[in-house]
Symmetry: C2
Subunit: 348 residues, 2 copies
């Protein structure tokens, strides 16, 4: 049997079996196919096609292939690209999942419900020698942090809160670095990021004693000119999740931070009464605490999530904030010159 | 079968089966019997006696009882009071552990090796309906933090580093509060503390997303005049363990902190090159970060571990530091007027 759980990946090769066939289930709402759409947008070279059940209306716009066809085109796993509420693997998906195993594909899932907890699927995988990979599974056998300075350059996206663009910003910066010929890797610390990158560590699932050690593992020693662009998690100001953020900050020992914020968000998401810190305070505290493991840490700029604003309003706000802070402020989704200036500042 | 793991305790009654019969194994070095000696010193009312194998030379000074005799005197569990290097449950202890189960006792262990991983012992416990309680086991089903302000008063011991007296200081303060007629509970966050208190959460074993939530659980709502004296863990300045410390600080939302330090320690234990923060910096950062969940947080004073100094030298240093900082500075082991002033300041 080869029920591979994430820890082996984390401490070993950091490789998910790629490329993927994206599984869309019977999804009729694009919002539930976020994982598949994220894969298509950020790792198209890792996606050979998509596979949906009758009744599905959402498409990632890729070739529609059966598992057998996908296997022939080189796919190594079926990736569940659906994120329904509750993280449930529906009974109605089972024939398709078994079909994938039979066709020679492993299965990769970031659902809350674990593949390895489904007895029939686990039995079939065992029989065939296939892997069932639950990306959310907490790593085992992680090291404790050492604080040792590693070679290469590191950037970490940090935030005023959860869920406001830290993953997107890191992906956009890694892509922009590469476009300028800079050797760069996106380093994933959450489940969707891990699927995009093909590896990483789900930092929120790590036992707290190993949090910094896990972060050290995510961005190992590298060549002097190489950049690891590390996906941030949570916020140092979050009453529930700051432990994740501090362990990640200490362990990733960034040379550069980029602060992510959503203009107009005033309170911690889900915790009314907890005011968000302002941007200056977020910069200052991250630099102060980050300097413990990297005294040369600096802030290169700010990333705004302005999806809810019109273009003129967003541009005016970012220009004003940039002047006020003396730092580049850009929305990576809007791109443009402001984003170029942010990239310049990161690489300066 | 009733292999009780810690989570049920943490989310349920927080009760270990007490009183204990302290098991000393075949120990010949007092250093390895630290757990038993800590229990004797801090929870004598929870210890009905001790049980050692032939060849043991260490004693906690309690009545030597067989498991059957201890059961007759009301003991509910055999507590492994030995902490050898490696945390190994020796093969030579097995007959004594089985004897305890047969006599009607549960077994409580803080060893790295898990009781429930010993097949013969687990089978016997199952057969008899006894509990094997591994205090180190990571809690399951913990809540995420809410940041909600709880009723009652809280004190947290914090430190410039690991392993310099945070547990001892918390125990001494809780005892001193009680001696003054103040309603107080010691709240344990590490394995030895949990055995002394009879419950608690091993904070370093908690998944980081639940760290603050676990800390909230450790010191629940209480009467307005009641004090929870919470055992601190690690240090905000520790490159490996700061995540544990920040989650505990946010979740325990202390009204009062006491900073623990060992004079003469200049570097983080085990991490040469990492200088310890000074006391002022430790106070300031804990107050700043702690104010996120309790804006009224204050520092009541400093606890020095001066075990390596002679009395005159220690007294002179503490007097000078107290004058310099404008705060009480005391060694709880030495007690005296300095410690009284520290207690005054905590309760002020």
């Amino acid at each position: 049997m080869n029920i591979q759980t994430f820890p082996e990946l984390a401490t070993g090769s950091l490789d998910l079996p790629q490329p993927y066939l994206l599984f869309l289930g019977d999804t009729t709402h694009a919002g539930y196919a976020k994982t598949a759409l994220g894969l298509r947008d950020w790792a198209p070279e890792k996606c050979v096609g998509e596979y949906a059940l009758p009744g599905a209306t959402v498409s990632a716009g890729l070739d529609r292939l059966t598992p057998a066809e996908a296997r022939e085109r080189g796919a190594r796993s079926l990736l569940i690209g659906v994120a329904n509420s509750g993280g449930v693997i529906a009974e109605s998906w089972m024939p398709a999942l078994v079909e994938a195993l039979d066709a020679g594909l492993d299965i990769v899932s970031g659902m809350h419900m674990r593949l390895s907890d489904l007895p029939d699927l686990a039995a079939r995988a065992r029989e065939l020698g296939r892997q069932l990979i639950d990306v959310r599974d907490p790593p085992r056998a992680l090291p404790v942090g050492t604080g040792r300075k590693r070679s290469g350059q590191r950037l970490l996206t940090v935030g005023t809160d959860c869920a406001l663009g830290k993953k997107y910003t890191a992906l956009a910066l890694a892509r922009a670095f590469a476009a300028r010929g800079v050797d760069a890797d996106f380093r994933a610390t959450g489940q969707t990021g891990i699927m995009i990158a093909g590896g990483g560590v789900p930092m929120d699932a790590v036992v707290s004693d190993f949090e910094a050690g896990a972060a050290e593992l995510v961005s190992p020693d590298a060549a002097p000119g190489h950049w690891d662009v590390v996906e941030g998690q949570g916020s140092l100001f979050h009453p529930a999740y700051a432990a994740v953020s501090l362990g990640l900050l200490h362990g990733s020992q960034p040379d550069v931070i980029v602060v992510c914020h959503q203009p107009g968000r005033d309170e911690v998401m889900g915790l009314p009464g907890y005011k968000l810190p302002d941007i200056e305070e977020t910069i200052e505290l991250n630099l102060r605490l980050g300097s413990r493991t990297n005294p040369a840490i600096r802030c290169a700029g700010v990333s705004f999530n302005t999806a809810h604003m019109d273009a003129d309003e967003a541009d005016a706000l970012m220009a004003a904030e940039s002047a006020r802070l003396g730092l580049p402020v850009a929305d990576p989704i809007r791109g443009g010159e402001a984003f170029d200036r942010l990239v310049d500042s990161c690489l300066a």
